[in-house]
């Protein structure tokens, strides 16, 4: 296939766009639906040829800060994460809007409305408003690709980080994308500008004032952005369609022959003149946003506007992702009767793979923990979260990355015995280490079970930042006693001895770590296939 038209996932269009726009480094921690951006760059031959730095970071905060450092040094950098990852990177993100950037810095953040693979459906556009920095929200794979060039140019012209927001349905959907000629990478050009980058109060105040003064310019730039445009139409009914909301609005308009004016918005802050024109021309305006009703709420104002319709008045559902049918119904279309799902169709929830070491781990934990009157197990985010489902029902919390250790510590402080948590190797490296240090410093009676499968399995087997002997060294370094670091192998034939080890550590009155180590069977199989292929 020629280079000019490729079939790309939305996430891959972001990646190819960034490479072609002169990227020098991508920084990321895996998270659905953002993982494929970085994976694509890791596989790309052009990226290798251009020596684009692309290894995984320990977490989203370290990723963001490294991207900011590369920008400081004058080069174009990309940092990728899922929506909840931006909570982890929020400190760096917010303050990078105050310092501003040097080389173009683009944050690609993938939201997951309807929570296909996430614990919430927070809308990253709110972060964009919070930081007062431009947000781009392309509607198609082609727009995503083109927007990456625009994002880097915009970032360098206003000297601010630029957010590219995409949602699951765009990130994980393929389409043909026309490529442009790649542009050169920036040269090393570290900026000596302590007045901008040293955020002591006197500098920070001046920089914040500068950010506020930039806002009218950002609005003016949105007026001429290729991502914002009125679509031909007439009549008293109007639609403001943001991001992929545009796709559903256009589809509904076409399928049901709806007469209306439509304003497509894909660059924020929204273009005030275009919005005003639509509101003046229409007696009713439906606001279609994939995510929170962020702009609908602003358009309504505190005292309300009878003109505005959307998620807040029930025209569209308040939560969940949009569809063509939901937008059509909001426009008054009576949808035809459709077949129901037959009653015999039972749910098919995801499960741990057959032969997965986590299965043997949960068997052992369940036996050892249920010998106690209180048997809560705090847990974390990864494949092992599936241990919450039958037949195991083995874990009782999953909140945010790393929370298992610190929650177990807090519960131990409250008097809960035993205080047990399960965390994966990659999640431990991401956000577990500082929590373990807290537990050590406070001599908290917690048992930290680290499920070490030597990979970031749930997102498809990316390299883990800390596994194997490195994990042991980290625990020792954080102050866990050597005798209280136990390593077991989760296999059926070791069940009795594994239960015995867990029992001992649950009973110990201090910090202990049980490393449950067996390679993920998926990554092991992948390695085997790869070595068989190269052996031929």
């Amino acid at each position: 296939m020629n280079r000019s038209r490729l079939l790309l996932l939305g996430a891959e269009a972001v990646a190819q766009g960034a490479i072609d726009a002169g990227l020098s480094g991508v920084y990321a921690y895996p998270g659905t639906p953002s993982t494929e951006i970085t994976e694509y760059i890791q596989r790309s031959s052009l990226a290798r040829q251009r020596a684009i730095r692309a290894a995984w970071s320990a977490n989203e905060k370290t990723a963001y800060e490294a991207a900011l450092g590369m920008s400081y040094a004058g080069k174009r950098s990309l940092v990728c994460m899922k929506h909840v990852g931006l909570n982890v990177a929020a400190d760096a993100f917010m303050n990078s809007a105050i310092t501003g950037v040097n080389g173009g810095l683009v944050l690609a953040v993938a939201d997951d409305p309807s929570m296909h693979s996430s614990q919430n459906e927070q809308d990253s556009r709110v972060y964009g408003r919070f930081a007062m920095t431009p947000v781009l929200e392309p509607a198609s794979q082609q727009e995503l690709y083109d927007a990456m060039f625009h994002a880097f140019e915009l970032s360098e012209s206003v000297k601010l980080p630029v957010v590219v927001r995409l949602a699951t349905r765009l990130s994980h959907s393929r389409a043909g994308v026309e490529l442009k000629a790649p542009v050169e990478q920036n040269r090393l050009n570290a900026e000596y500008a302590p007045g901008r980058f040293v955020l002591m109060p006197h500098n920070a105040r001046a920089q914040y004032r500068h950010l506020l003064d930039l806002q009218p310019k950002l609005e003016a730039l949105s007026e001429s952005s290729f991502l914002n445009r009125p679509v031909e139409g007439r009549g008293p009914l109007g639609i403001i369609a943001f991001g992929i909301g545009y796709n559903y609005a256009m589809e509904a308009r076409k399928a049901h022959g709806i007469e209306c004016r439509l304003l497509k918005i894909g660059q924020y802050p929204p273009p005030r003149t275009q919005v005003n024109e639509l509101f003046e021309a229409c007696s009713e305006v439906l606001v279609v946003e994939e995510g929170y009703p962020v702009y609908e709420e602003l358009f309504r104002g505190y005292f309300g506007s009878p003109k505005v319709r959307g998620r807040l008045d029930g025209a569209l559902p308040r939560d969940g992702e949009l569809t063509t049918d939901l937008v059509a119904a909001a426009l008054g279309v009576k949808l035809p009767e459709i077949a129901a799902v037959p009653e015999i169709v039972a749910n098919r929830p995801p499960e741990l793979c057959k032969g997965c070491g986590h299965r043997d781990m949960f068997d052992a934990i369940n036996i050892a923990i249920r010998e106690n009157a209180d048997h809560h197990v705090f847990s974390d985010i990864g494949c092992y979260t599936l241990g919450a489902l039958p037949p195991y029902n083995a874990i009782h919390t999953c909140v945010d990355m790393g929370a298992s250790i610190t929650m177990a510590k807090g519960a131990a402080d409250a008097g809960l015995r035993p205080a047990v948590c399960v965390i994966g190797d990659s999640t431990f490296a991401h956000s577990g280490m500082t929590g373990l240090l807290d537990a050590v410093n406070d001599r908290a009676p917690v048992t930290v079970i680290i499920a070490d499968n030597d990979t970031t399995a749930m997102t498809g087997g990316q390299c883990s930042s800390a596994s194997g002997s490195k994990l042991v060294k980290i625990c020792l370094g954080l102050g866990v006693e050597q005798a209280r670091i136990r390593t077991i192998t989760p296999l059926r034939q070791h069940l009795d001895e594994n239960v015995a080890v867990l029992r001992e550590e649950f009973a110990y009155d201090g910090v202990s770590v049980v490393i449950v180590r067996r390679e993920c069977i998926e990554t092991a199989a992948k390695k085997k296939r790869r070595s068989a292929a190269t052996g031929q």
Binding site: M1, R5, S117, R169, Y248, M250, T324, R348
Partner: protein
């Protein structure tokens, strides 16, 4: 020309390979396409689906509207039923009859076939058996692609070229097994 196709199955059964072949052929034909797929947690043995839309005009939405699918192509019989609300009145169901039981409450095959029988001329395929005859049970997804081929709007020869392109790097034998499996499916649908 516009086709809305729902591909259905269980995580790990290879529906994305089916999608990749159709995508490749559609792109070669100069058609527009959108193909939304499921990554992440559900891939671990859960219900997965892909919305595939092909058209000679501009396509806006990545998702298929309810009641507008021309084809539900499923590699698992219970999964074919899960997406019936998407089926257009004139749409067709093509499904494998090989159950994948990794859940509680899996209904009997009689119940499943009774429900499938309520759709317009369902194409029911013993995919694993035909794939084994073609050379490998692992090619049953290509049997299903063949069985669904007449409803995709793309010529079988173009899809075969897609199989060549997709499996080419795995060697001649793998390509031939998959082509044989595909043809067995096509033959069944045309019979």
């Amino acid at each position: 020309m516009q086709k809305n196709i729902i591909l259905a199955g269980v995580g790990g059964q290879g529906i994305l390979s089916i999608a990749a072949v159709i995508d490749w052929a559609a792109l070669q034909e100069g058609l527009n396409l959108r193909q939304a797929e499921v990554h992440g947690m559900s891939q671990r043995g859960g219900a997965v689906q892909s919305h595939l839309r092909i058209s000679d005009q501009e396509i806006f939405a990545d998702l298929i509207g309810l009641g507008t699918a021309d084809l539900i192509l499923s590699v698992e019989p219970l999964e074919a039923l899960r997406y019936l609300p998407y089926l257009a009145p004139s749409g067709r169901v093509v499904t494998s009859l090989d159950p994948f039981v990794n859940m509680t409450g899996y209904p009997s095959m009689e119940e499943i076939e009774a429900e499938l029988g309520k759709t317009d001329r369902p194409v029911l395929v013993h995919a694993a058996e035909l794939a084994r005859e073609a050379g490998s049970a692992r090619a049953s997804n290509m049997v299903m692609l063949g069985a669904g081929a007449p409803f995709t709007g793309i010529a079988p020869s173009k899809l075969e070229a897609g199989i060549e392109a997709l499996f080419g790097s795995k060697g001649r034998e793998i390509v031939e097994i998959n082509i044989r499996a595909f043809r067995a499916g096509v033959q069944l649908s045309n019979a």
